[in-house]
């Protein structure tokens, strides 16, 4: 093996830390002082104060036997986030184009793997030092784990972290090298990344929603074989062995029965997995998969006859605006990530009304309706903004030049985009409201009102997200800074518009007129959306 990997590691590290490029040394020194202080003094102090607040000073007794299951859920979460997260990110934008230059210097896939892994280690180390004391704080505090024990615990966590990262990198790279060869594969990769992203969210959601049930499931003996459980059990063992509270023999027996394997076996299993994955990676890379500059496309997709809906649209109107909307629909529908998000939105629209009890205990029908509209507004506007906003607004600056070089082109384009989004969003809203109205036993008037309120919310959200993106167009992918800035701005605008207007209107009218409070936020969203689209399109159309 050549030493290419070390050059790659260095370059990647410089890229990762480029934000501090003039202050790398100073930042490192500060971190070296702050981090141990944080981990050993500050974080445990915060955590113990919070524990006393919640459980009283007897918290050790209250928590003692909850830890084994809790640790397993926590470590599993770390695993899921660190394992699926990078895969999701890597598949979002396949980097083979950037790798082409490395490949032209005869760099092995293995070098790229090892190089990017090593470059990430300081960052993950930092992550562990900052996050672990908070997450593991209750355990450390409750068992009064000695400093030495804490060091051991954080090392185990660091170890779990980097083995998750390593495996993630391996799988991500293998998938990228396989899928990156064709345009179709890249579509699949993007769709897959959206799904993994949602899986992570779902997992976090479940853990937060039903932590006790989740911990109970994690404690069952079938979970003994999950690699993350070995790390978790090892952490609990260390805490027990280095405890400063004097656990009784019977305590130890109960705890031991809750944990899967003994400390040494857990340790060996954990080690074996790590070494095994490294061996696997070094063996399979360049053999089973290799990063290479692939053909532009494997399959050439030929468009066929337009589908029924598009032909119907053409029959309805043959104006040039219709043509723009149809083009926009085709472009949107042919991108796998859009279809995935739309499908996900559809599933949410069906599942949400079945799962959520909107009434929050209220019985007054007007109040129930108000709660329903407000929570639906929030859910639908977020889904609408994520599905139709930001991403792939335009593919490149040249794309914008082409549109700009036509008379009034930007406005036509933006209008067509909004029409396209609404054509897709409104049916989803109908499905959602109809199911919800059935579940909530709304009458006809309230059902129509629900549809109206939800349509206003999603139209407003679509316009807000289009406006924000037009104001600051994003030509890249979900990884880019502009995209993140825009998403943040969109979410803040949505929440401020909905909650702010409900609160403001409530304060003005003394929270009496519930119909006003229910429809007000939708109207406000529409007004904010219209003005943001106007400003955004206006600014996009300005000559440079």
């Amino acid at each position: 093996m050549s030493d290419n990997w070390s050059h790659i590691a260095k370059a990647e590290f410089l890229a990762i830390t480029s934000r501090f490029r003039h202050r790398r040394k100073r930042v490192a020194t500060v971190l070296m002082i702050v981090c141990p202080l944080w981990a050993i003094v500050v974080a445990p102090w915060i955590v113990s104060s919070l524990l006393i607040l919640w459980f009283g000073s007897e918290y050790t007794a209250a928590l003692k036997f909850l830890f084994p299951g809790m640790m397993r859920s926590l470590v599993l979460m770390i695993w899921i986030i660190l394992f699926l997260g990078p895969i999701s990110a890597a598949l979002q934008e396949i980097k083979i184009g950037q790798w082409e230059i490395l490949l032209s210097h005869n760099v092995k896939t293995r070098d790229i793997l090892v190089g990017s892994f090593l470059a990430g280690i300081p960052v993950y180390g930092l992550f562990v030092i900052v996050a672990a004391p908070v997450v593991l704080g209750p355990l450390v505090v409750a068992y009064e784990v000695s400093i030495f024990g804490q060091l051991l615990i954080y090392s185990v966590i660091f170890f779990v972290t980097i083995s998750a990262v390593w495996l993630s990198l391996l799988l991500g790279t293998a998938l990228q090298s396989k899928l990156g060869r064709s345009e179709r594969g890249r579509d699949i990769a993007t769709a897959f990344s959206v799904i993994t992203g949602l899986l992570i969210l779902l997992a976090i959601y479940v853990v937060q929603l039903v932590p006790a049930e989740f911990a109970a499931v994690m404690q069952s003996s079938s979970m003994d074989w999950l690699p993350s459980s070995w790390g978790a059990d090892l952490v609990t063992w260390i805490a027990v062995m280095c405890n400063g509270v004097g656990l009784s023999a019977s305590d130890l027996r109960i705890l031991g029965s809750m944990l899967g394997f003994g400390p040494s076996i857990s340790f060996i299993l954990l080690m074996a997995t790590f070494v095994g994955t490294i061996g696997l990676a070094l063996f399979t890379s360049d053999r089973l998969f290799r990063i290479e500059a692939g053909a532009r496309t494997e399959t050439v997709v030929t468009t066929g006859r337009e589908n029924l809906i598009l032909r119907g649209l053409r029959r309805l109107s043959s104006s040039s605006f219709t043509v723009l909307v149809i083009t926009s629909l085709k472009d949107f529908g042919r991108k796998a990530q859009n279809v995935t998000s739309l499908g996900f939105g559809m599933i949410l629209a069906i599942v949400f009304p079945l799962m959520i009890n909107y009434s929050v205990g209220a019985t007054d029908p007007d109040r129930v309706f108000f709660y329903f509209i407000i929570s639906s507004n929030m859910m639908l506007s977020i889904v609408g903004a994520i599905t139709f906003g930001g991403i792939a607004f335009m593919e490149s600056k040249n794309h914008l030049w082409i549109i700009k070089s036509t008379p009034d082109g930007v406005f036509k384009y933006v209008k067509a985009r909004i029409a396209q989004s609404l054509l897709l969003a409104i049916p989803v809203v109908f499905i959602y409201t109809i199911i919800a109205s059935k579940m909530m036993a709304f009458g006809l008037v309230q059902s129509i009102g629900a549809i109206l309120g939800c349509c206003m919310a999603i139209s407003g959200a679509v316009m807000i997200s289009t406006g924000v993106t037009a104001n600051n167009p994003n030509y890249e992918d979900r990884e880019s800074k502009i995209f993140r800035d825009n998403t943040g701005a969109i979410m803040v605008t949505l929440m401020v518009s909905i909650l702010g207007s409900a609160l403001g209107l409530g304060l003005l009218t003394g929270f009496e007129n519930l119909a006003l409070l229910a429809y007000g936020p939708g109207v406000v969203l529409m007004i904010v959306g219209l003005s943001m689209v106007y400003v955004g399109a206006k600014r996009l159309a300005l000559p440079d």
Binding site: E183, P543, D544
Partner: protein
């Protein structure tokens, strides 16, 4: 419609990006029906000039009229009678060539059967009819360039801006584009404003050439006039003399020392 017979008229046009002077005091007149070539090295300011003239960018100083229309106050009219081929092809990857051209047509307020007929004939002229329903993501950059050339001609503009039209095309495709330009200029009143760094292309196609370097227009004239004015053998030599591109052999290898 245009009283003085000029397709382009600029007066001390200037553009700065911060401290960079992309173009300086550009004064130029291009008569209707002519094929004007703006010749210059990379970074000379050709793209900037085209963007300003086609209404995509604001000049920092000076003024300009395109087909008698002021580029600042009549921007949308300028856009509807001009076509622009941007520097590098960036087009919808998920549309087919036909769908993309329909989109551009619709942005220019054209639609219906006449548009589709025109798309068909342009695509077959450019040799793309067999692939015309394939998604553009599978096109080579030369093929995309051809689609973009078609898109600039779709709405029968009076003036066409082409920014490096042949830099990605193979010899036969670029000679096709050359012929297309010559025929269109001959048969219709269409004027062309072409940026290029290729002297041979400029020599073969353009009736008037302006050489630009570091934002300054160095000279304007027919290829023959320019060659004569610096007493060169051909346009390439004249160009190199004017922009000062000759570097002697020793200097060329100095970096190896």
């Amino acid at each position: 419609m245009n009283e003085n017979g000029l397709a382009i008229q600029t007066e001390t046009l200037g553009k700065t990006f911060g401290t960079i002077h992309a173009i300086r005091s550009l004064t130029l007149e291009v008569p209707i029906g002519s094929i004007f070539g703006l010749l210059g090295p990379n970074g000379a300011g050709k793209t900037t000039t085209v963007r300003i003239l086609s209404g995509l960018m604001k000049q920092s100083s000076g003024c300009a009229r395109v087909c008698g229309l002021d580029i600042e106050t009549q921007r949308d009219q300028v856009k509807s009678i001009t076509g622009l081929l941007p520097e590098s092809p960036g087009i919808y990857s998920k549309l087919s060539a036909v769908e993309f051209l329909e989109f551009i047509g619709a942005l220019n307020r054209r639609n219906g059967d006449s548009l589709l007929r025109r798309i068909d004939s342009l695509l077959s002229l450019l040799g793309l009819e067999e692939r015309q329903n394939d998604l553009l993501e599978s096109y080579s950059s030369g093929m995309k360039q051809k689609v973009l050339v078609a898109s600039t001609l779709l709405h029968e503009p009076e003036l066409v801006f082409l920014d490096e039209p042949t830099s990605r095309l193979d010899p036969s495709a670029s000679s096709l584009v050359k012929d297309l330009i010559l025929v269109l200029a001959d048969e219709t009143e269409t004027s062309f404003f072409i940026c290029t760094h290729m002297t041979s292309f400029a020599e073969e196609v353009c009736d008037v050439i302006g050489i630009i370097c570091e934002g300054k227009l160095m000279t304007v004239g027919s290829p023959e006039q320019i060659i004569e004015s610096v007493d060169a053998a051909d346009l390439e030599e004249a160009y190199l003399r004017i922009v000062g591109g000759r570097v002697d052999r020793e200097q060329l290898l100095a970096w190896r020392a």
